[in-house]
Symmetry: C2
Subunit: 312 residues, 2 copies
Amino acid sequence: MDVRRLELLRELAERGSVTEVARATHRTPSAVSQQLRILEREAGLPLTEKAGRGIVLTDAGRALARSATDVAVAISRASALWDEFRNDPTGEVSLATFPTGGQMLLPGTIRRLDAVGGLILHASDRDPESDDFPGLTADFDIVLAHTASPAATNWPAHELAAVKLMTEPLDIALPPGHPLASKELLDPEDLIGERWIGVPWGYPFERTIHDISAAAGSPMNVVQRFGDTRVTEAFVAAGLGIAILPCYTAGGAYRSEIVLKNLRGVVAERHIFALMRPDRAERLAVRTVVDALRAEADAVVAANEHRNPPRA
Amino acid sequence: MDVRRLELLRELAERGSVTEVARATHRTPSAVSQQLRILEREAGLPLTEKAGRGIVLTDAGRALARSATDVAVAISRASALWDEFRNDPTGEVSLATFPTGGQMLLPGTIRRLDAVGGLILHASDRDPESDDFPGLTADFDIVLAHTASPAATNWPAHELAAVKLMTEPLDIALPPGHPLASKELLDPEDLIGERWIGVPWGYPFERTIHDISAAAGSPMNVVQRFGDTRVTEAFVAAGLGIAILPCYTAGGAYRSEIVLKNLRGVVAERHIFALMRPDRAERLAVRTVVDALRAEADAVVAANEHRNPPRA
DNA sequence: ACGTCCATGTAGGGACTCTACAGCGACGCC
DNA sequence: GGCGTCGCTGTAGAGTCCCTACATGGACGT
């Protein structure tokens, strides 16, 4: 019935507790509870049930919450339409990113947006280890996320809008004096017996290292695990092991002390996406930022293709 | 921004005046005017302009009104979803129909709906001559309309939901003693020189009579024009001319005094539709009525096919 | 047993939107 | 041209609705 109450139910479905919804919507828990109660009375059937200290949605509640998304999308679309009429993509957009994504894309994106003007982008980076990136879409308009294989993500595909920004190859990073540094292309078998600087459990590259093991027919020897590529690069530069790194961002302060080599026989790449709640994806300001991100991503790919032509 | 205000703008787009919107939404014109003013301030650009005593929408206003339809559809859909959860297609549904459509379909439809229970259908008939049937969708949930050629209607296709109910053949009605009454099938040429009991200008059958003239190569001689088929039937029964009549409803009190003949060489049929505003079409109660109408229409067609097998 | 956390009631204040009434320009009729 | 009608808009006030502040009560952990 009432749209604002439906919206509240949707927030509850995403955040899971009255208190969280209250905080996100700048209300007291009491206000949220009252509105949900009214909604439940209107609906004529229970939407929530108690679960320990908190509450959980019933099946009916979840179904209604899902339909609330469609309502929110329609409203956002209407709102965007009249922003278009004023030709006015003004507003504030919040964005969360993993560190290397922000490093690679955001400066150029901001420069592109400044050329348009009137749009404020609040960006911040998140720890890939501790944060649930799809879940961040509840609090950020745009979330940059990466995955080794889009098909294998557990992203709720129909609850989230996902825009592909780019595919970035993953390269093998070696110290300059390493015996393999003279080879043009590396094969998985070359890497047997090497000491690896890996990533924490659950990181996207983990899967790629696993694929290399499978292709080589021998497990890889991961001796260190770092989430921050700067640490990984320092270790590789110091000759303490080899690593897998995204090729457009790898190097940094150590660019002269690290050699990057392509790998054949294994699909080694990461896919970078912009994730959004579908209603937020409709906002004109958000769409403008996503367009800038896509343009910047294309530019980064083009610049690197030029330096480093595509492999077979 | 605000859904209720958007809805008001949509009503204004359909009804064309603040006073009409106020009447339809049970408000004072002042309230409507105030809300539109607020919406205009929020939109940041003029949505209406003065035109004589009244106002008209600007291009921007019309565009916003159109997007308001999508919002209304999403809300109706959400509302219907939870009616489905309660398995409760309760509510009141209003319906307007042309007379022969109501005569043919409504008694059976009501009987079907009574079997479900809890649903109240308010039906009324409208004069096909004086009423704008698509426009009636502003005031009725369902409007039954007929047309000789669906492609040639001026119905605003994307603003209205149209559900095809049935196609009804149009037959030539003759007095029993008429020379043509002995023929199995009539050809357009047979009808040259006959006196016709026609329909008022603008009625659907008018087009069919025109097609017959074209096929016969000679204009038909329309001497009387009646909107009500009972008058037409009385004239035919009295031997005062021939007419074209929808075959499932023709006859009535005069069934024994009228002969119906199929016509070949001309597409003589009318198509019966249920027209609805798209948001209303989503309501569960409305969908239930439409389903009953479709079932009844199919039954009518089947019953008549049985009596009168399909022609070549 | 006690503190904490979370949801939910109650009372009251504030914002919003409606009605009643009046004003004003446009149109048409005489 | 005067005058009545029609339609939109402004102002003041009343009613409704929603939110905050505060209190209550159940669930969990120590």
